[in-house]
């Protein structure tokens, strides 16, 4: 590069001038929504990826047959303009919107839907667990070019609720890049969808850019030209970005951040109940906690009000299901601190004199969870039981859940319902087929299993609600968990973000299409 003295001086002067410019001045006027999150997006494959960050990418670059919106979540058309359901809930037919098209311009057809479901079922990854035992490779059929039929293996009351996670991929693109792994290597880093947005810049660990598709087939969208998912690992930085207007949405704020943003100019706080619960799991198979009376004694000794006071925006759980979800029994008698009853059950147990030590794992870095463990320590002291509190990373907690031998006496977990149906939580957290997994490491009750299985296929809502009522009563009686708090989702928006509607499932997987920037 040949640099003259004049050029150098001129450049230096320009640099000084530029250095004095506000560094975001070129952002003015563009309708690009910036979302700040701590979570990276490891894979773009719609039939492999899972987690809230990939779900955000998938729901904006792909479409599913239906979507859910609002509180309570209502199933709305997406790729499917309409659908019919047989009386026995075994047969569904969806009419695909004739204007729907993939990013390459080709129409979304019934063939594409069948192809995508076959791929989901074949790969057995991502969200395929939601339709395990419900559909097989022959269950999904082309009726005609724009109509697809589903023949369920058994009635599944939550079927429409899980369909938003079954994304439809362009078979032409996948087949052209099929490789030896059904296109996984290609789709991990590329998209083949019909969503309102396509991917622009992709910088793993830094940002993901979404660009509004030209001639998009979707109707009634907002005015966003694009969006950026910015990885911002400190919640304090997210908070400052919100205050400065450098981000429009902050997705992972703590209670302290929300308190700090309460009166911040231009910031709107969204704090809403979501189906997200915190429980302390107990080792019901090995060690002292195999004794049901001891578990009940601990459940009565625990300071639930103290837990709520330390939780920030939250409410106490009433049983194993999140409040507000279908089938939840708000009148269920649950454990609240009652030291007299605690003593009563302790006396019935084999450990009435205490004199031993239990252990608990909590998520490293989560101060709230550590405080809740201290409340448990306090409760156990009243029974002459010590508690060893240990922080653990998530892989260590998962490994601990593998069996009764590896599981400590207690460990702490948050659980979030992926879809607005009690089956989601009941099956994952209390069915014995899930033993060895973090949501249900060891708990087993044959009667509870039967109730969950019966409720899963029951299509009469009244009977179904009754089955869940019985399920909740049995689980509370078994006391396999300390049922803690229902944390409220905490989001912050800039006040120029319009048309946002809170939905208590996947609330932080922001759907971009309806949004506008004033």
């Amino acid at each position: 590069m040949n640099v003259t003295r004049r050029a150098l001086l001129g450049s230096a002067a320009s640099a000084v001038a530029l250095a004095s410019l506000p560094f975001e001045v070129t952002a003015a006027g563009r309708k690009i929504l910036i979302m700040a999150s701590t979570t990276d997006i490891a894979s773009f494959d719609p039939h492999v990826a899972s987690g809230y960050a990939p779900a955000m990418l998938l729901r904006n670059t792909y479409d599913s047959l239906v979507r859910v919106v609002g509180t309570p979540p209502v199933v709305m058309p997406s790729l499917a303009a309409s659908w019919t359901v047989s009386d026995d809930k075994l047969h569904y037919q969806f009419k695909i919107d004739p204007t729907a098209k993939f990013h390459d311009g080709s129409p979304v057809t019934a063939e594409a839907v069948v192809y995508s479901f076959k791929r989901i079922i074949k790969l057995k990854r991502g969200y395929s667990w939601m339709i395990a035992g419900v559909l097989n490779a022959d269950s999904v059929k082309v009726i005609d070019a724009q109509t697809v039929g589903f023949d369920l293996l058994a009635p599944f009351a939550a079927f429409l609720q899980v369909l938003p996670y079954m994304f439809i991929a362009n078979p032409k693109i996948v087949e052209a890049n099929i490789g030896t792994d059904d296109g996984q290597a290609y789709l991990m880093a590329n998209t083949a969808g019909s969503g309102a947005f396509k991917l622009g810049r992709v910088k793993p660990g830094d940002l993901y850019e979404f660009i509004r598709v030209k001639d998009d087939w979707h109707k009634n969208g907002g005015n966003l030209e694009g969006a950026i998912w910015k990885i911002t690992r400190e919640s304090s930085t997210q908070r400052l970005m919100m205050q400065r207007g450098e981000a429009h949405v902050a997705l992972e704020l703590f209670a302290e951040d929300m308190a700090a943003l309460k009166d911040a100019k231009g910031v709107v706080s969204v704090i809403e109940p979501e189906y997200r619960t915190f429980s302390i799991k107990m080792n019901t198979v090995k060690g002292p906690l195999a004794d049901k009376n001891l578990r009940k004694a601990i459940s009565y000794a625990f300071n639930y009000q103290g837990m709520l006071d330390a939780a920030g925006p939250a409410e106490l759980m009433v049983g194993p299901l999140p409040t507000g979800i279908f089938g939840h029994d708000p009148s269920l008698p649950v454990y609240r601190q009652d030291l007299a009853k605690a003593k009563e059950y302790l006396a019935k147990s084999a450990y009435k004199d205490g004199g031993f030590k239990l252990s608990i794992l909590h998520a490293a870095g989560y101060e709230n969870q550590r405080r809740w463990c201290l409340l448990l320590l306090e409760a156990l002291k009243t029974m002459n039981i010590e508690l060893d509190i240990r922080p653990a990373t998530w892989p260590d907690t998962q490994a601990a859940a593998a069996s009764a031998d590896t599981m400590p006496s207690f460990y702490c977990i948050f659980q979030t319902a992926n879809y607005a149906d009690p089956d989601n939580i009941a099956y994952a957290a209390y069915h014995s087929s899930r033993n060895g997994q973090w949501q249900n490491p060891v708990y087993k009750n044959v009667e509870v299993d039967k109730l969950i299985e019966a409720a899963r296929v029951e299509i009469d809502p009244v009977k179904r609600a009754d089955l869940y009522k019985q399920f909740q009563a049995l689980v509370v009686d078994d006391a396999p968990d300390l049922f803690g708090v229902l944390e409220k989702r905490k989001l912050a928006f800039r006040d120029n973000v319009q048309n946002y509607v809170f939905t208590p499932v996947a609330a932080n997987s922001i759907e971009l299409l309806p949004l506008s920037l004033a």
Partner: protein, 335 residues
Amino acid sequence: MFLYVLRRLFLLIPMLLGLTVIVFAIARLLPGDPVGLAAGPNATPEIIASVAKEFGLDQPIPVQYWNYLTGLVQGDWGVSIFTRRPVFEDVMTYLPATLELVFAALLFAIVVGIPLGLLAAVYRNGPLDYITRTVALGGIAMPRFFLGLLLQLGFAVALDWLPLSGRFPLIESTPEPITGLYTIDALLVGDWYSFTIALQHLALPAFAMSLSPLATIMRMMRASTIEVLQQDFVMTERALGLSSRLILFKYVLKNAMSSTLTVIGLYVSWLLGGTVLVETVFDWPGLGLYATQAILTQDFMPVIGVTLVIATIYLLSMLVVDILYGVFNPKVRYA
């Protein structure tokens, strides 16, 4: 000298080999279930087994190590269980950001620390010496992440002089990638706008990183300068009528540099391995964050890859330091 350099480069191989054994053993012997984590929270045992097979984790550990080593020789650093991308690609993606931060921090520390150390020695026990001592104490004592947060609050939030975080404005296109270092890439194509913007974003995290090495370099320079100033040849040069500036910058500096050079060399690897907190505060997408994520998810291929990269850079930087000894001090020569 050439043979010496060649010998040192050859010695890299057994050292790095030994390192792979240690890191591989530690990573694989840690308790935890990275496969279960990568397979997803609702994965069935069949899915977990399939993921384990995909990554060769169903093999015995010595077989896994041998497969890794043979792959390494062919340029295959393994695949991240979490991102499913080749580790080499990931490292090449994140490394330039960290190198830019480290070089900027070190450059600032050297450019400011060495002259200040010299002057503190010349004017020792004067006001400048006391100021530099205070700065040094603060620089070493202050945790980098805390300093980073203070800088954000001061310069970004209160004064609005500099950006809060990130390497570049979110909606702008970054400079054409040549080295991956935005400032260098912008300079190479004469893009002053991008250079200025990148420099603005680099300023606060680089300063936060630089304070500790600046303090150490300053103190080391001061101490060795004081020692050299007391030597006979300095008195001789003064007696001969040479100017103070000439004595200081031509003769004293060269003789006092040796121990400071060692510290600078050590700081290269210290900074490389210690960027994670600053990268976290400033959302700087570098190797520190990548390695931390890998450690927390027990994704051991990236952990080994990052360790090897940092170790290689450290060994090479020490080689450069040894060569520079010879440049500054002709009495030091290598056969």
